[in-house]
Symmetry: C2
Subunit: 409 residues, 2 copies
């Protein structure tokens, strides 16, 4: 089953060529030979294979003046599909996309992550089938299922580890669910789409959002995506790759201690955590205690948008408190950009201005001189965008490209 070293080397070479074409850095045979050092004959042999398997497309340009300009190559984004899944605590968004992240069908639904993996993933599996139906594409075209979940993940195995929410998921190996489904199918016991050709990738939801924002930007290798919703979390891109940390816990900034709030108890058992002071749930609770109608983050946003002065003051205070924590992280990580997402990030004027002010005042000038602090342009789509991009990166890698090159059945 395992490829030989020579096969691995060939896959690495095919991956290199496909990536050079996909990112536009070498869109012709001659340029590929230049970039890789391969002979023209070797490039031709490999490019012909990639074209035969439908992964690349070659276009003859119109003759212009004398001679014929060289044919140009591009990735065929339809060559394979990705099921991109963003699971939140109370909702999910799923898209079926092409290799360049374009959604063919997409839908958001309510769900309760605490229903546990069997029910939640069962619903995901079914919804992927519905989306494939809408897109008019067969399940065998799906070569990767890329899933973000609201908790820490050991990405190498797709195992959920000690999630603070996600009842029933601790230690659950997500790819196993899909393997079991395909096993059951062989014995005639399963419904839903037949996804046995798909590789399953699992990551933390804020990580995939960070990767989504990173993929859409072209302004540096180091990015922090900070999600301010019910809680507060962060996804880290360092040197163009997701930084997950030693145990998949990197970016868990909601429990960083905020000075002077030791009287505020957090659900983690500590006190003074920034999430317990300035997160969406904390704000809603504070506003409710002040006699306002505020059950959750949505109400906080509504009250601020209605111009309620108490809500406005509380949100601006939260901006300064979050800014304080982020200023420390800017001094430490020195990112090119901070992108703010999550429901509270909608409050650009009110929240962002104060976060910015504190970061620029507190972090070192060298670390902020070219730092951009912006709100997400992808909004609620950041998760599926990142999931799709991570999957495409995997499928074009030496480890993944074999899956794209297997002949259609």
């Amino acid at each position: 089953m395992h490829p030989s070293p020579a096969e691995l080397r060939k896959l690495a070479s095919l991956s290199e060529l496909a990536c050079l074409v996909a990112d536009g850095s070498a869109p012709r045979r001659g340029a590929l030979a230049q970039a890789t050092g391969l002979s023209r004959a070797a490039v031709a042999q490999r490019v012909d294979l990639l074209i035969a398997r439908g992964l690349l497309v070659e276009t003859e340009p119109e003759p212009a003046g004398r001679g014929r300009p060289p044919a140009s190559l591009r990735l065929a984004p339809e060559a394979a599909l990705v099921a991109a899944v963003d699971l939140g605590a109370t909702h999910c968004r799923i898209a079926v996309t092409t290799l360049d992240g374009r959604p063919l069908a997409e839908e958001a639904r309510d769900l309760d992550i605490n229903d546990g993996p069997a029910r939640v993933l069962g619903a995901v599996h079914e919804l992927i089938g519905e989306l494939l139906g809408k897109a008019g594409r067969p399940a065998r075209d799906v070569r990767a299922i890329s899933i973000g979940v609201p908790g820490p993940v050991e990405a190498s195995t797709g195992t959920v580890i000690r999630p603070p929410i996600m009842h029933g998921w601790d230690g659950y190996r997500v790819p196993g669910f899909f393997a079991d489904r395909e096993g059951e199918r062989k014995h005639g016991h399963a419904n839903g789409p037949e996804l046995h050709r798909a590789h399953v990738l699992v990551d933390n939801d804020v990580n995939i959002m960070a990767f989504g924002e990173y993929s859409r930007r072209r302004d540096g290798e180091h990015l922090l995506y900070v999600k301010v919703g019910t809680g507060i979390g962060c996804g880290i891109v360092s040197g163009g790759v997701l930084h997950r940390g030693a145990s998949g816990a990197a970016g868990d900034i909601g429990h960083i201690r905020l000075p002077g709030h030791d009287d505020v108890l957090c659900h983690c058992g500590n006190s003074g955590c920034v999430e317990a002071v300035a997160g969406g749930r904390a704000l809603a609770n504070a506003l409710k205690a002040a006699g306002l109608e505020a059950e959750g983050v949505r109400d906080v946003v509504r009250l601020v948008e209605q111009g309620d002065p108490v809500a406005l003051r509380r949100v601006r205070e939260a901006g300064r408190q979050i800014g304080e924590v982020l200023a420390s992280l800017v001094s430490f990580h020195n990112p090119d950009a901070i992108v703010l997402g999550g429901r509270l990030a909608q409050l650009q004027e009110e929240l962002l201005a104060d976060i910015r002010a504190v970061i620029y005042r507190r972090a070192l000038p060298l670390a902020t001189r070219s730092l951009r602090i912006e709100t997400s342009t992808l909004g609620e789509r950041a998760g599926v965008e990142g999931a799709a991009r991570l999957a495409a990166r995997h499928l074009l890698s030496p480890q993944g490209i074999g899956r794209l090159l297997t002949r259609p059945e």
Copy 2:
């Protein structure tokens, strides 16, 4: 001057083989063919070249039993030398090492970094010459000069950027000094060793220390090296590579705000910075104000070692304060290990115990469950060790190996 794509490809292949042998993962021709997918003939051709240029050594083992066991390969660490330079504010340490980091000669000297680049680098240049003399090796054997400086550096160009100390160095491009020296030599105007075959690498001093500690350990890809001396700084290894940040400022944690100390003014212009509260200079000042004899960090260490209760209380307090900042960084970065260095780190019992206690109490359990927090085993040698290892990694890389393979003059 620029190598052709085919030459680049060959260098990449030679680099791959040399690295596989150097790190011990493929110490025989057969294993190299397995690991790379190259044919045995191609491996033989390239390995023969590496042996001919003195970079690899092949040893025929004693015949044991029937048949002859295959010959084993190893790196010839003497094939090239590195000048590893650790520049501090008031001292420097320089070593001439082999490719595996072994020092052939090493010396520490006092210097004042504020004398500016011409005088300081002039002294460095001269000392490298002296060390080569002691080691009995000619200057042409030196293929890399690897320098750490006490300030932010744009590593790609070796330029010092806006250093808070280092008077006269702002914007100075360190490799230019050595290029100029060799230019002057051609016109007969320069002394010191002839180092024109050496590539010059420049980095922040705490970064090279972090890389030194990382190179000596084998327990994970993510490491923070925290230097607690006169000031407080941090070097970051993420995924096995130095994380320098968008503008070379990553790890500058000394100016993270410590809660509740807004009355303490820092030299950076802000107030409440952890360095201004818990750094070595701050401790010495506090002890002096309490009537003790304390001019600098050395005195703080001495007083604690003598059992002075005021000094002891102050250092333990500093441990808790530094621990508070590090707990936030552990939640964010989720490292495998934190290594403490710098003069104050000598106070293991007094400082480390409190730092540890705060981190384990404050950071998330998932981020600390396999976290190791230890003092440096390399001590004052961490800088030259890291500088030597970074240089060796560069010289064995596709970009650097050409320099090792040029024929001796």
